[in-house]
């Protein structure tokens, strides 16, 4: 049977077909849909972990017990999971373990574009890189098999264009006859005391040498000789871009991107007149291949920054005057369409978003806001413009502590950390523990919207539900803050601007650690009874003076009509309004009220 699947859907299918028993992840674009799809296979125990480190640790446990395991995360998630990863490399596995790293060249939805192929080399872990959805499915299974054969975790690296592109996949039946997981004691292999780890390290080096040798004859490293005047070494989606723009050149498509098949690469180099490498981000292949004394070029004319596209590859080669003669595509055909500049269309918080009022107040109070990762990072954008930092998951609280330690007593009062419920559970708790332990007088706002919203509303330990939508224990954020030692914890309604402002003013003034928790849910929460739409609001054109105060919250439901009234009027789109009531509180002329 054939189906059109995204890379993420195909990885989920691959896990099912390969007999994976346990899957764990923390959501992060572009990896999120892997677990959201794995949940459809009842044979697999799949769950959201509070962060990527825990997700990998869950996977490691399952592997030690003999089950096949899959753990998924976005590229920066591997930074969080790096601690167990580097030692897992030494312990090896029992059941196969595949760690999916979904990289995001171009930073479509990320704070950096680190090239996680470097982790494969750094942690001495083999890495597979599929080029389409069919390969996503096949490489997931192959990764699990290699994992068991070589006693190593295996990376499966995708990029956004692989994770989120769809292509045709041939489905297969799941494997049968895998060993039944059970408790088997093997402490010397799994307890990484120095004496045991010293035994394991040489085995790691040996395994990578054996893999490098085997890589030369692996079918997934595919040498395709066409016109031999030009040869290109590439992998992942770039292989398809190269085939698109230079259909006649010879290619060496790498499916295993670490370790590299050096004998095969030497054979390819000898078979072509000129050798190039087309790879996104770092010169990962190039440096290793050059170190072997093989003449090759790539990053001297292809950018280190951003993703590649067919036209970027074509333009890079053309700019160097080295378009392969045999190509059928001409750079000159890129059409130029006359165009004027258009208004941009940046993303925005949804109508009825509970974060909007908080940022409006923070802006009014001229707070110095250390931000975090989530929808609320959009509080940086005008007109809210109330965020000064955003570094990584959970960083807001530690950043606030550091800023407070550095500045004068008067300026300290302006420092407010803002973090979402899911991000707080991910890696914010330790920051708060540090803040209260070291008596840092800053204010932390936990924007508890009861969901991991930015990645598409996933559940988390503070949402009260699991990945399979089962009701579960819900972290009581206020109690958690109190037991950490925070003496001043208050819960506010973020739709009540007066209450929110009063709480922020008082807590910012207080020379102690304090926490304010907002308690209104995300408008996108689908579970019934969580988000409740209020009565619709409308602008009374008789009372609206055109003062534009209501525009300062940047609500997509409120539109300025410049040609109406004496100097323009505001208008509320009834199809977008959720009745949150925030705009009504901004109108000094009582022009905004319930729609009649």
């Amino acid at each position: 049977m054939r189906e059109i699947l995204s890379g993420n859907e195909a990885i989920a299918r691959g896990a099912y077909e390969a007999g994976v028993k346990v899957a764990s992840a923390y959501p992060g674009t572009p990896s999120t849909e892997i677990l959201e799809n794995i949940i459809q296979y009842k044979e697999i125990d799949s769950s959201w972990a509070p962060n990527e480190k825990v997700a990998l640790e869950v996977g490691i446990g399952a592997s030690f017990a003999g089950a096949r395991a899959l753990v998924a995360m976005k590229h920066v998630g591997v930074n969080v999971a790096a601690d167990p990863l580097f030692t897992l490399s030494y312990t090896g596995v029992k059941g196969g373990l595949v760690l999916v790293t979904a990289d995001d060249p171009e930073m479509h939805s990320s704070q950096n574009e680190q090239d996680n192929r470097n982790y494969a080399k750094f942690a001495k872990v083999p890495m597979l890189e599929p080029a389409d959805s069919q390969e996503c499915k096949e490489f997931t299974r192959l990764g699990l098999e290699l994992s068991e054969e070589y006693d190593t975790p295996v990376f499966l690296r995708t990029t956004t264009r692989i994770s989120h592109s769809k292509s045709v996949v041939q489905l297969a039946e799941p494997v049968t006859g895998l060993p039944v997981p059970a408790l088997v004691k093997n402490a010397a292999k799994q307890v990484m005391l120095p004496s045991n780890a010293r035994v394991r390290h040489p085995l790691v080096e040996d395994r990578m040498l054996r893999l490098a040798e085997a890589a030369n004859s692996m079918a997934i490293n595919r040498l395709e000789l066409r016109d031999t005047r030009v040869g290109i070494i590439t992998s992942g989606v770039c292989y398809h871009y190269v085939r698109e723009v230079f259909p006649d050149v010879s290619t060496l498509k790498l499916g295993l991107v670490h370790p590299l098949p050096m004998d095969l690469i030497r054979r390819f180099a000898a078979a072509v007149d000129r050798l190039f490498i087309v790879e996104e981000l770092d010169p990962f292949f190039e440096e290793q291949i050059k170190a072997q004394g093989i003449a090759v070029s790539g990053k001297d004319f292809i950018s280190l920054c951003g993703e590649l596209t067919p036209e970027r590859i074509l333009t890079a080669f053309a700019g160097q005057g080295i378009i392969p003669e045999s190509t059928t595509v001409q750079a000159a055909t890129l059409t130029q369409v006359a165009q004027e500049s258009l208004p941009g269309r940046p993303p925005n918080m949804c109508p009825g978003c509970p974060h909007r009022g908080v940022f409006y107040v923070l802006n009014r109070l001229k707070a110095y806001v250390t931000g975090d990762i989530g929808c609320y990072t959009l509080g940086f954008l005008p007109p809210l413009s109330a965020m000064e930092t955003c570094v990584c998951m959970g960083a807001s609280i530690g950043n606030a502590s550091g800023v407070v330690k550095a500045v004068s007593e008067e300026e300290r009062k302006k420092v407010v950390a803002v973090i979402g419920d899911s991000t707080f559970c991910h890696t914010g708790i330790n920051g708060l523990m540090d803040m209260v332990y070291n008596k840092v007088p800053a204010t932390v706002v936990i924007l508890d919207n009861r969901i991991t919203a930015m990645t598409g509303r996933q559940d988390n330990p503070a949402s009260g539900h699991t990945l399979s939508n089962e009701a579960t224990y819900r972290v009581d954020l206020a109690e958690l803050c109190r037991v950490l030692g925070v003496q001043h914890v208050r819960v506010v309604n973020p739709f009540d601007l007066e209450e929110t402002e009063k709480a922020l003013r008082e807590e910012m003034e207080r020379p102690e650690t304090s926490v304010i928790i907002t308690d209104k849910p995300c408008v996108l929460v689908k579970r019934t009874g969580v988000f409740l739409r209020g009565p619709l609001y409308a602008v009374d054109p008789e009372k609206c003076t055109g003062c534009r105060a209501c525009l300062k919250i940047g609500c997509p439901a409120i539109q300025w009509l410049p040609d109406e009234g004496v100097r323009g009027l505001s208008y509320i789109d009834p199809t977008l309004c959720t009745g949150c009531d925030v705009c009504r509180q901004l109108c000094k002329f009582s022009a905004i009220g319930r729609a009649k």
Binding site: L334, Q336, P347
Partner: protein
Amino acid sequence: MSERVINILLVGVGGQGILLASEILSETFMLAGYDVKKSEIHGMSQRGGSVVSHVRYGREVFSPLVPEGEGDILFGFELMETYRYLPLLKKGGSVVVNDLEIAPSSVLMGKEAYPQGLAEKIRAQFPDFLLVDGQGLAREAGNLRAANTVLLGAVSRRLDIAGEYWLQALEKMVPAKALDVNRKAFQLGREL
């Protein structure tokens, strides 16, 4: 069967249902026996940002992205976004666009004006231009929410794919209770 790869771009605003429309297109092409690839960005772009989805089909498709300037059809769900992505279209390409303007935040706040006369500007550069009253025809079909299916019908006329595959794809991708309205909406679009 066409040997050449056909390139379609779907553009509009996050939340307009562009991804579902591109899935129906892809499903149709697969049912018709073609290789299909599609690509788009999720995540940040969902929050009312600009969205572009690439769909390509043919005997064998390599890149999931349509090379710039090689688009055969620009399928627009909103006027300004359609205008924004014109450079993706090849010379002589077709434009099918919903007659709809969605103001971005700078326009909502009165800081910029929504550009005027876009339909005429597009038509001047791409004569094979169809402006569709998606909402009006959807209402005629029985549900305002079927506007995308009207547009799909209009796009289908420009592709050499038999009607049966379109209907099979609709049956697979649209909830059963909405199927009749969507069949009608598709037909209204196809007759334009």
